[in-house]
Amino acid sequence: MSAAEPLTLFEKIWRRHEVVAPERDGAPSVLYIDLHLVHEVTSPQAFTELDRRGLRVRRPDRTLATMDHSTPTENGVDLDRLRVIDGAAADQLDRLAESCTQHGVPLLPFGHTNQGIVHVIGPELGLTQPGMTVVCGDSHTSTHGAFGALAFGIGTSEVGHVMATQCLLQKKPRTLEVRVDGQLADGVSAKDVILAVIAHIGVDGGTGHVIEYAGEAIRGLSMEGRMTVCNMSIEAGARAGMVSPDSTTLAYLRGRPAAPRGVDWPAAAEAWRALATDPGAPFDRRVQIDGGDLQPMITWGTHPGTAVPVGGHIPRLTDVPDANRPSFEKALADMGFEAGEEMRGRSVDVVFVGSCTNSRLSDLESAARLLDGRRIASGVRMLVVPGSQQIKAEAERLGLDAIFQAAGAEWRQAGCSMCLAMNGDRLAPGQLAISTSNRNFEGRQGPGGRTLLASPLTAAAAAVAGHIVDPRELG
């Protein structure tokens, strides 16, 4: 490697983690994994596979488990109560706890003060750091790329591979730079940026690629905003999204439980800054978007690539290529919408603020600011689900829980909740939800339920109005 060769952040991380280079016989690289995050849904079959082979988790010191997908978020429901109301969920939690004990894997279980959504607690603890490789049996592992880490979701077989070897067999992906220039207007958030990016490149536009987000609008985002953007990279088909580390990254990490301290801090900070993509580094593809033009966005269809401005309308049939019409018409039928209709003014039944996309403190603050002194419309149910117990505690210290409850919203325990409706928090058939989560797939939030994806601000505005509204109209 010549010193003059400009490299991307991705390339620097890949080279530092390639244990074995691709072999002539077609075998892919052996890639080392620094941090393996584990949750209750995608790990039990991997633990079973290890047991079947008589293997142990090789590096429990580089593994951390928590419980988030199956956990109840209803206040007052503990594990004993869960055993009564949802035995299968309780069994899954018990199984994770047993496996972690058996293999010496640290666990932040349901009920722990640091439990939360796996992609919220990794950064919160300071475990996710620039230059690291991070994996989890969950597609939204891309979230951690906000720190300048290479982070991606894996299946359960690969969860077993990492448990047994701390490595994965990986073919090197291509790189895509998504540059968002300009300054975001007031009322336009990280969620609107990523919904616009996915609409632009397509729901499979990032397949086979790692995305690096760059440009003034990305630089101007907080770490929480960058996590929102990287989180939804998978919704464009990209397994990973990244942002080069900078002073925003360092400021977030400083003082976190796992962050370097004392004399180790300046050395780490210098090394992290040096990871940033070099000027002139080559990408396989580049896309540019003007951030100054972006509006609050909302999806109308059944995949995350269907976002339009909140003040916009569903595409007309004549806007859709012939080959895509059957899927377009199926999505309209599933949603009960007509081609060409306006999004604004449509009544909503449920508002969900939460998920690994938008459940961090700044997301809750954004919704609370709009709700402060207001009431949600009658007939609307609003759930606010913090991403972690730490965020919940901090929000309560700031009095956000009181604002939500005074407005008529439910303030709940931390977890994935209605994002994937696995834990009983779900839509009734036919209900229309505006959700700050990441997927509007058919039935994702409950069989027969319909989902519109938007930012916390747009979701809170809809809760107050009782229908879809541009949040800037409420001031």
């Binding site: 079959q45 082979r53 969920a89 069994d91 475990l127 995949h303 899927s327 994937l420 994702r444």
Partner: protein
Amino acid sequence: MTTAQIQAPRFIRLTGAMAPLPVDHIDTDQIIPASYLKTTSREGLAAGLFAGWRGDGADFVLDDPRYAEAPILVAGENFGCGSSREHAPWALLDHGIRAVVSTRFADIFRSNALKNGLLPVVATGGLVDRLMTTAIDDPTAEATVDLEQQILRTPWGEDIAFTVDPFARRCLLDGVDALGYLRARLPAIESFEARHALPWDTRDVAARVSGGLP
């Protein structure tokens, strides 16, 4: 236990009928909804396969007795997008589907499928359309997917080349156990670790936030 005793999934050649599913962007939540993931086993997941689309009638292709046994699924573009759940290929295989033909597969789904012996076959849009039409017109029409030759033989007798990642192909043809292959590289992994320090130990961090350490 040695890795020689581990039975890795195999796929060499498959001939059978095709179930047409002309929907684009079929996500893994459709293949198996989250409510079916509350299990610690990988068995019996066919019960959740396309649970939101299956019903009492024959409206959905796999409810139609003419297609219920078809081992090849022909689907719209970007099959398997969304969640990383490996329950999706487990459910398809449990139902009896062993190959899926589409113009494009999502990355994680493809990786999961290949590790379980479910073959993702990438074909052009024109070929997928013709296979779909053929399967709709004649539910008994059979195709052959030959991984050894990397050839899809259509019901009308045409041989179409496709490609599969060479390592995944070798694993499926020879029954190579990918985890065993990785474990054979442990000496290289150990010497890498000797020069690759990390700034934290997750056990210490978890203990510290649990009040177990000062």
